[in-house]
Symmetry: C2
Subunit: 315 residues, 2 copies
């Protein structure tokens, strides 16, 4: 069985980002001839199925599961719920939760549940799985007919290259990308007669490197509050409720230090504003990030919980 | 291996509720003599470990896991994080999520993810697992030193007897009860070298009968809104923000029809008020519950999502 190929380059400025060349599924290339009946939707080509299997390093007994796991709800009109990846995604989500729980439980023998949960989440959240989809090229096999998805995926790939590692809330990955990783994992779980070791072998390769306690970054809002607490600064995160662009501003001791806009999601705007403020503060202080926010194993973890509300004062 | 005993009686008025006689662990009975050094905390007695194993129908290779899975954070002073059930609870939560996902995925071959998720949740939520703990008598082996827990468990057992089946949000079970079911499940997963089939065998027996699509009840708030929509009534759920007792009132076409107070949790008060209103409406209409709210397989399920806010108008 083939193993997963190495991640696409996305770590150095002089390297190329993952290919955005549209993948034309073989079915479209070969079967759009005059012979096909009107409305005929050909199955995924055997060559593409094999390519996906090679990426996964898993040989499906039931090859039709590959097609199912990669078929978005928009692919058929009218909607055919039984022919989309949704049920497999649900199953994959369940088994990944279990296997990542086990992994961090086994790896960190004395770590309390709080950080265990954060480690688990970071390794199976939307951003991590969307990164996996792109780095392994799985997004190229997505079957859909929702034109806006291509643009969203394109933007994500560009942004992803700015953040070679998990951004902790600065990116807004299209859910469809993490969906197809979960659905392919669900498909393997089902196809292997619910063999969790087989699922783990595949996921472990796909998701390599896993996020460890050492590489687990901090959430920018938590880090900002923590930093201001340590250095006795007053911090206020302000949002203009009337602004369509969802502008969020960070005031430190009453002075505007960072801001960001992200019209699609308030939370992303807030996280980016916090990150901008942190970068500014660190630059001003002439301190390096590593000095200010080391990820020590012995740190208390509860403080990393994200404040749920805006306009909070932590001085 | 012993199998799980039948559930304690809690279904008929003339039967006794589950025993509330305090279980004095054998260690306390036998080892509180003058020989014990000051501050000495004896391990769980072998007899009690065996009793728990009999309830679970599982024979632990490492018997110390039983004690660990039943030891609440309050048991040791100062707090000894490595000697409490928290990590096992985390692991058990993960494996139960996976196994219930698989169970409903396999049982309902065409059901969409929404109802699959609701079915999974209902079978592993705090109320379901707390019921399992009480019905199997596992709560009697809980090791803790938090006096308030006894009272909370006592209240829950009394309330539980009023609702022979899952109440869908009318009860407020102490989390400790569901915790110990998860931690015992986590302990079995760990002890069996992560054998999911062994875990499923134990849980399937413990949790019998599982909640099926046919027995899955509706959330009272959803049911109320649905009922009022069907019968073209205006419904308003009102909460007095200044009332310490968290009184919630339900107005139907401007008239007070149901109310409830529950100072500990706003959500429970809201659910109980909705249930009271529904009961009143049905009584008034002379219709039976089964006529009004049958759980048909073919029903749309999205409407069962709970409105997140109070003071909502659905007329």
């Amino acid at each position: 069985m083939a193993t997963a190929p190495p991640p696409a380059p996305c770590t150095a400025e002089d390297e190329e980002p993952p290919s955005m060349a549209p993948h034309v599924p073989r079915e479209h290339r070969e079967q759009h001839g005059k012979d096909a009946p009107p409305g005929f939707i050909p199955p995924m080509a055997a060559e593409d199925v094999a390519a996906v299997e090679a990426v996964l390093g898993y040989d499906f007994a039931d090859k039709s599961l590959v097609e199912l796991a990669l078929t978005h709800g928009s692919f058929y009109y009218p909607y055919r719920p039984g022919d989309t990846y949704e049920r497999l995604e649900y199953l994959g989500d369940g088994v990944l939760t279990c296997l990542m729980s086990r992994e961090v439980f086994r790896t960190y023998r004395t770590l309390p549940p709080g950080p265990l949960t954060r480690l688990r989440a970071a390794n199976v959240d939307t951003e991590k799985l969307a990164r996996v989809a792109v780095l392994r090229g799985l997004h190229r096999f997505l079957r859909h007919k929702a034109p806006q998805l291509e643009g969203q995926i394109h933007v994500f790939i560009e942004e992803m290259c700015k953040y070679p590692v998990h951004s902790n809330g600065l990116l807004d990955p299209p859910k469809v990308l993490s969906d197809i990783v979960e659905s392919l994992i669900g498909a393997i779980y089902f196809d292997s007669n619910f063999d969790q070791e087989e699922v783990w072998r595949v996921f472990r390769n796909l998701a390599d490197p896993l996020i460890s306690l050492e590489t687990l970054g901090k959430h920018p809002v938590s880090e900002l509050f923590e930093f201001c607490q340590k250095t006795r600064r007053g911090v206020k995160i302000m949002k203009d409720e009337w602004d369509k662009n969802l502008k969020v501003e960070v005031l430190i001791d009453g002075e505007l230090v960072g801001s960001a806009t992200y019209a699609q999601k308030k939370e992303i705007a807030q996280n980016r504003a916090a990150k901008a403020a942190l970068d500014k503060l660190k630059e001003t202080l002439g301190q390096t990030e590593s000095e200010l926010a080391p990820a020590h194993v012995s740190e208390p973890f509860d403080e990393l919980d994200i404040p749920g509300t805006l306009n909070t004062n932590a001085s």
